[in-house]
């Protein structure tokens, strides 16, 4: 697959400057594959998809710079052709998902606890700010501590702090060997085993429990993967499981009740949750299908040091967990610094931001 390149940054900048002049909010969107997340933002559509293509990619530098409107599938194909990958395995959720949406939503896939999150792979960015300027932060190098880290701040900010036009990402070689297995043990026992294995150099790169069995993925060299496979035992698993888990295509996700994501500390024990659950990230991310209200679900998550996000549009008025008073104040002040007129996705995360 070839990557179609087109620099539409001048048009994007124009549209932002017009919105600033007219003081009208913008709704920044790529394909809309993640528009169901968070709150609905009102505003004139700013479509990023004309601004697309790889700007630079040199596999031996382990860095790719890509425009925000580039389809994620095209980026992944280009990396794959060079034997490399985005280690954080970002979900697409729909055809046409863009790189900009990946950064804005900041969601990572099954490998996240071992590889790091989307934010961890961000090295630099270009952003159109609320002052109507197209600026550059960070860069294309692994280590760079000049100035404040506004590039990593963009990850997971849902477009509320500016229009991301370009991002530089660290990429890694694909593992030499990858094998998936299924081990029929209950959740309590699985979590204990994961805590034990987590303290040892075992090449686990994904760990999920679907209520029936623990699903594991091992990645590394032939020796380490072979030895771990032998030690852990279990049956072979179709590796397609991980893609279906990431894209929420497993049968679990078809349940009509609202979907919640609980982000919890490592080594949180099995929790009695009001609904059905699917465990990912070795227990640090738990999906919950539940009719329970937001207060109940968040109460359980907060009790153990985590938080909960609603992934079903319209199920609750505050899908992203509300912030403490001081944190909210600093969110508003930061928003005011980067977007003084409040034109970028206002209210997309929180009504006050």
């Amino acid at each position: 697959m070839s990557v179609i390149a087109n620099d539409a940054s001048a048009q994007l900048l124009d549209q932002v400057n017009q919105a600033l002049a007219a003081n009208t909010p913008l709704r920044i969107q790529g394909s809309g594959s993640k528009s169901f997340l968070g709150r609905q933002a009102d505003g004139v559509l700013l479509d990023t998809r004309e601004h697309r293509g790889l700007v630079t990619y040199d596999p031996t530098e382990l860095v790719v710079t890509v425009r925000a409107g580039t389809p994620l599938t095209e980026l992944e194909a280009a990396l794959d052709a060079a034997g490399q990958m985005l280690p954080c395995e970002p979900p697409h959720f729909a055809e046409g998902a863009t790189v900009g949406g990946m950064i804005a939503a900041g969601l990572s896939g099954p490998r996240r606890p071992w590889s790091g999150s989307v934010r961890d792979f961000v090295l630099g960015s270009r952003v159109i700010t609320g002052q109507g300027k197209h600026l550059r932060f960070g860069g294309e190098v692994m280590k760079n501590v000049a100035g404040y880290d506004l590039s990593r701040l963009m990850a997971g900010s849902f477009g509320c702090l500016g229009v991301l036009t370009e991002v530089s990402l660290k990429v890694l070689p694909k593992p030499r060997l990858c094998t998936s297995l299924r081990l029929e043990i209950d959740l309590e026992r699985a979590l204990l085993k994961l805590a034990e294995w987590g303290q040892q150099p075992i090449p686990i790169s994904a760990a999920s429990h679907d209520g029936q069995a623990l699903h594991l993925r091992l990645e590394g060299g032939e020796g380490s993967v072979g030895a771990a496979r032998e030690r852990i035992g279990g049956d072979d698993l179709d590796p397609g499981y991980w893609n279906d888990l990431r894209e929420q295509r497993l049968a679990f996700f078809a349940d009509p009740r609202p979907l919640w994501r609980l982000s919890l500390p490592n080594n949180t024990p099995a929790l009695g949750l009001p609904g059905d659950q699917l465990v990912d990230w070795a227990g640090a991310q738990r999906w919950l299908k539940s009719d329970a209200d937001a207060v109940t679900i968040r109460g359980i998550a907060v009790e153990v040091g985590g938080h909960a996000t609603c992934f079903t549009a319209g199920a609750t008025s505050n899908p992203i967990q509300p912030l403490s008073a001081p944190l909210l104040r600093y969110h508003r002040q930061l928003k005011a610094a980067l977007d003084p007129q409040g034109i970028f996705n206002p209210g997309r995360m929180y009504s006050e931001v």
């Binding site: 190098v141 280590k143 701040l153 890694l172 070689p173 032939e222 980067l338």
Partner: protein, 499 residues
């Protein structure tokens, strides 16, 4: 252009009545250790960048977070600048005091509060030394990955403030990649938690923004770090090359083979000879460059990768490839590299360590550029290089007792950093901007970008009391500095008046 705080270009500082402030501090915080006599203040007048010194107004050494809280509230009310400092090992003057400011020393917060092996985290106070965390985790076969060269002395609070790196960053990341949660006090003395015990938190990623913010946005009061299982084995290959270009290409070849080494270091001939004279590491002194490639992980994989890398190095034209035959030789190979700075210190009365980063492919051109500049300024430059992550540490050799040499070394250093920016790199990979690179920030960022940085600062600290003058230069400073530094014939910041 001098880097010490200059109110003319860096902005006016509040005038503080020392006696009145001291009296009020002693009244409100009777059990707080406060230094105020000039002989007591002397030891705190610089951090690891010892060429620059300023005597602080007062030094405070709190032992309880409540004291810091009260102190910040008081300073906020009275408009007193506060410069936070950990162990004071920073190399960019990030903890350089102000004559009109309090130096807040967090070093006495040195308790490890919790090590949780099953949760793979450690919760520590900000004054805990980097290495002490790994030592506390060692009984569980765990460790804290970032390992700045000062790890025996530097504190974790300072590591957070500087987003400290080390020699293993390519594989294990920087400080920002190894944090779960940082508790801070805001400039108003309000407690706030960034991040959480979970892998992510709701809202903006303020933890990422705060990491590396050089004490400008808040004061670190507690840090929760991730712990990793110790790699089963580590092996080191040493390869010699008859040209720096070949060594540089070999690095790319290793990565292209799909291998991510734990550490990958390069030294040039001047560094090799200095280190060999000092440490007797067994380095080939006639080589133009050597590469040290450490592979770590599970034993069988490391064994396979050693064979692969060996092959790659030979194909890349290495004149010699040696695998450290045992642990003692591995330690010796590393000792040469880790002592490269003091080794260079033996062959020159003084040296000045730079910290630029570049895309690796630019290495041959940048080394050529450095060698030209070295000739032009008449000062020798030794190069050690975190080759895996593109972080260069050119060491400029000079003699501070020779009139004008320090200034020449600084000017040469500034030119090297500007060269790094020109090829798409950065003026600092891990040491931070502090005061040292305040002028070079004007080369890396334009006026709009700097203005936005100031807005971010103001969102956290509107009155600018936390570590004033560090990290982000004023546009006036850039205008002044720009007189010596004009891009494409265009005067930077034409809208500003000139002094």
């Amino acid at each position: 252009m001098n880097i010490l705080y200059d109110e003319r270009v860096d902005g006016a500082l509040p005038k503080v009545d020392k006696a009145a402030l001291l009296a009020e501090l002693q009244a409100q915080l009777p059990d707080l250790d406060i230094l105020h006599r000039s002989e007591d203040l002397k030891p705190y007048e610089c951090d690891g960048l010892s060429a620059y010194r300023t005597t602080p107004l007062l030094v405070v050494l709190p032992e309880r977070i409540e004291q810091v809280e009260t102190l910040l509230k008081l300073c906020h009310q009275r408009g007193v600048p506060v410069v936070a400092r950990g162990a004071g090992t920073g190399l960019s003057g990030g903890a350089l005091p102000l004559e009109q400011g309090i130096l807040l020393v967090m070093a006495r917060f040195n308790k490890i509060l919790e090590v949780d092996p099953a949760g793979r985290f450690a919760r520590v106070q900000p004054g805990v030394r980097n290495l002490a965390i790994s030592q506390a985790a060692a009984p569980y076969e765990l460790y804290y990955a970032p390992d700045p060269s000062s790890q025996i002395a530097c504190s974790i609070g300072g590591n957070v403030a500087e987003n400290a790196g080390g020699v293993h960053c390519l594989k294990y990341g920087l400080t920002v990649h190894n944090l779960l949660k940082v508790d801070i006090l805001t400039v108003e003395g309000e407690r706030m938690t960034l991040g959480s015990d979970a892998l992510d938190s709701p809202g903006f990623d303020l933890l990422a923004l705060f990491t590396g913010s050089e004490g400008m946005l808040g004061i670190v009061t507690e840090v929760t770090v991730k712990l990793l299982p110790k790699p089963q084995v580590a092996k080191v290959l040493l390869a010699a090359f008859d040209s720096v270009e070949k060594a540089g290409r070999a690095v790319g070849d290793i990565i292209a083979a799909g291998i991510i080494p734990g550490g990958l270091e390069m030294m040039d001939n001047l560094s090799i000879r200095a280190a060999e004279d000092f440490i007797h590491a067994g380095y080939p002194v006639d080589a133009e460059a050597i590469l040290l490639c450490e592979l770590d992980g599970v034993e069988t994989d490391v064994h396979d990768d050693c064979a692969r890398v060996s092959e790659v190095l030979k194909l890349a034209g290495a004149t010699e490839v040696r695998l450290a035959k045992d642990e003692a030789e591995r330690v010796r190979f590393w000792a040469g590299r880790k002592n490269a700075f003091p080794a260079v210190g033996r062959i020159s009365p003084d040296y000045y360590c730079m910290d630029g980063t570049i895309p690796r492919r630019e290495l041959p051109g940048v080394l050529k550029g450095i060698s030209d500049l070295s000739e032009q300024f008449g000062l020798r430059v030794a190069n050690v290089f975190h080759a895996g992550d593109g972080n260069m540490h050119p060491l400029i050799l000079f003699d501070a007792n020779q009139p004008g040499e320090l200034e020449r070394a600084e000017d040469l250093g500034g030119k090297i950093l500007e060269l790094c920016v020109r090829v798409g790199g950065s003026i600092t990979g891990e040491h931070g901007v502090g005061r040292e690179k305040i002028n070079q920030m004007c080369s890396q960022f334009n006026a709009d970008e700097l203005t936005l940085f100031h807005a971010v600062k103001a969102a956290f600290d509107p009155s600018g009391l936390l570590n004033p003058g560090k990290n982000i230069p004023t546009l006036h400073r850039c205008a002044e500095f720009g007189r010596m530094h004009i891009h494409n014939g265009q005067l930077p910041f034409p809208e500003l008046e000139r002094f």
